[in-house]
């Protein structure tokens, strides 16, 4: 694959992870500081299976999703009913624990060397297809009964509970689904880069995703996608100044949080634009009809 195709594919992989982050923060208000650990888990599950057995990519990715969901369930079960701070800190601790575990089980996972020699099967087309499929799932989730319950929980947990929403169940469900999606992106990454190593999945990566979602606007899926794409391209454009890029991103985040607390896109989606156009056109057409009549 040439440079631009690889860039496109890796942005797709990143956007899948950002979609899962959007489900957690934007929809439900769960603050997961160690979400990258699920990506790590997914990447290792896929990597181990792909290196040891010759199986099609679909199964490799499916295994990543299942393992990610399992881990999310185990971590989320005792934690999700506690306050936001506990969830944030414990997921952060989980991220560190996963990295430590992978570094020290070198006979299975290769330790700090990671796993090499995963076949490169992810093409740009497949990555785009998976991204669209995940996007479809997330949009439908947002518009479904569960998505609206999630938004109610985010806005006020107590009043959501008093309306008869089973807060803990919905939160755990979202956490598990988001864990699965993040692990899926990890599996995709393993098939793209052909190697996995534990150090790339620290908390700074999770914080990166969180800040991307916040810049776009935590209520807007479009915002998350657009800012995810922009901040995916930016590191390549500013390759000569990598440390300065992080500083610039931090400054943007702080400015956005202080002066536009709802993010750049606020609560607007791209579909709102279509709806607006449709309304304008239809009112224009009906006016014309009235004049003609």
């Amino acid at each position: 694959m040439d440079f631009y195709m690889t860039l496109f594919t890796s942005i797709c992989v990143n956007l899948v992870a950002i979609l899962s982050m959007f489900m957690l923060i934007g929809l439900t208000g769960i603050f997961s500081m160690g979400q990258a650990a699920f990506m790590c888990v997914g990447a290792y599950a896929t990597g181990l299976v792909a290196v040891n057995f010759d199986i099609p990519m679909v199964f490799g990715l499916l295994i990543a999703v299942l393992v990610g969901m399992l881990f999310a369930f185990v971590v989320g079960m005792p934690v999700i009913k506690l306050r936001t701070d506990y969830v944030a800190l414990i997921t952060l601790g989980f991220g560190e624990a996963v990295v430590a575990l992978l570094n020290n089980t070198s006979n299975i996972t290769g330790g700090s060397m990671g796993i090499n020699g995963i076949p490169q099967k992810l093409t740009a087309g497949i990555a785009a297809f998976i991204l669209i499929a995940v996007l479809y799932v997330v949009i439908n989730f947002k518009n479904s009964k569960y998505g609206r319950q999630c938004i109610a929980i985010k806005n006020d947990q107590i009043s959501a509970a008093s309306m008869g929403i089973d807060v803990n169940r919905i939160k755990l469900m979202t956490f598990v689904i988001a864990g699965g999606i993040t692990a899926l992106s990890g599996g995709m990454l393993a098939y793209l880069t052909t190697y996995v190593e534990p150090m790339a999945y620290g908390s700074s990566r999770s914080i990166d995703w969180i800040s991307v979602v916040f810049i776009g606007g935590i209520n807007s899926l479009t915002g998350a996608l657009v800012s995810g794409a922009i901040f995916g391209i930016l590191p390549e454009a500013l390759r000569f100044a990598d440390a300065l890029r992080i500083v610039a991103q931090c400054v943007i985040v702080i400015l956005v949080i202080n002066f536009m607390p709802n993010g750049v896109f606020g609560g607007y989606e791209i579909t709102d634009l279509f709806k607006l156009c449709y309304k304008k056109i239809s009112s224009f057409v009906s006016k014309k009809k009235v004049k003609e009549g």
């Binding site: 701070d85 989980f94 430590a100 992080i246 985040v253 949080i257």
Partner: protein, 291 residues
């Protein structure tokens, strides 16, 4: 004798964790959010202490006091940039989270740019690095850690429970609106609390830098302080103290029995088990949220 040695090491490590946890939990108790930028303040002050000691050739007490003051000022600055406006506009807790974690990353990267990602180590402050006492080996740095942590914790307790500022901080931690109505200058007290927390962070940062080596990711040690403060009960001052000691002891014993690499995994599992049994922490109370 061997266990006594472990106990001593555990307590001296635990005292540093307690120091981190106290700085972290002070902010939690007044603003009700987890201050992830505390790690950034720790790193910056550890490097500044290194500059004071290495380049300017200061002696140990001078270096510690000056870097503590600088750490406090940086913490105030972080408060002013990151949280002042949020507090005035009543921003949601999520915004505090993002703001504080971003500030933490920002400080860490500023250090990485200025000093590059190399490892540095503090110059030797003491002629002898350890001494024997009845079969126990005591490292001088460990002893210093223990003594200075104990002193700073006692000063903190004195300030919190015996002075006017302390009363205001505790009033603010109970109810910020009521405190405002009682004529407490909320902005000033919040800035003051950040200063105190920054001083604690700077002292712990310098000790972490002396104990390990200096690198930009040193601030990740703040995670230990966070775990300690959850163990003790979030927002509970004396709980943070017990939590830090407990975590230090647990880590030293685990390192001894299962090895240092795998210890974070064991601490995490024990921590989750602890939370299942007693989610409110050692001395914490759950205050049920009201509508």
């Amino acid at each position: 004798m061997f266990y006594l040695q472990l106990l001593l090491n555990g307590i001296s490590l635990g005292s540093v964790y307690a120091l981190i946890a106290l700085g972290f939990t002070l902010i939690y108790s007044i603003l009700k959010f987890s201050n992830f930028s505390h790690g950034g303040v720790m790193v910056v002050s550890a490097y500044i202490g290194f500059v004071f000691a290495g380049t300017l050739k200061m002696n140990f007490p001078m270096m510690l006091i000056l870097s503590a003051l600088v750490g406090g000022s940086i913490s105030c600055l972080v408060q002013f940039i990151g949280f002042e406006r949020l507090r005035k506009t009543n921003g949601s807790v999520m915004l505090y989270f993002v703001s504080s974690s971003t500030m933490g990353i920002l400080l860490q990267n500023l250090i990485a740019i200025t000093f590059s990602s190399n490892y540095y180590s503090y110059p030797m402050f003491f002629k002898k690095s350890f001494f024997q006492l009845g079969g126990i080996t005591i490292a001088v740095t460990d002893l210093m850690m223990l003594v200075i942590s104990a002193i700073s914790i006692s000063i903190l307790m004195f300030v919190l429970y015996r002075t006017r500022i302390g009363v205001s901080i505790r009033a603010l931690s109970m109810d910020s609106n009521a405190a405002k109505l009682m004529g407490i200058n909320v902005s000033l007290i919040v800035a003051m609390t950040f200063f105190i927390s920054g001083v604690l962070g700077a002292v712990s940062g310098v000790f972490c830098g002396m104990n390990y080596s200096l690198y930009p990711q040193l601030g990740n040690l703040v995670l230990k302080g966070m775990i300690a403060s959850i163990l003790g009960g979030l927002g509970n001052i004396s709980g943070a103290l017990y939590g830090g000691l407990l975590l230090g002891l647990a880590e030293i014993f685990l390192i001894n029995f299962v090895g240092s690499g795998i210890t974070p995994v064991f601490t995490f599992v024990l921590f989750i088990l602890f939370l299942m049994i007693r989610p409110q922490g050692i001395s914490g109370k759950f205050i049920s949220e009201k509508v």
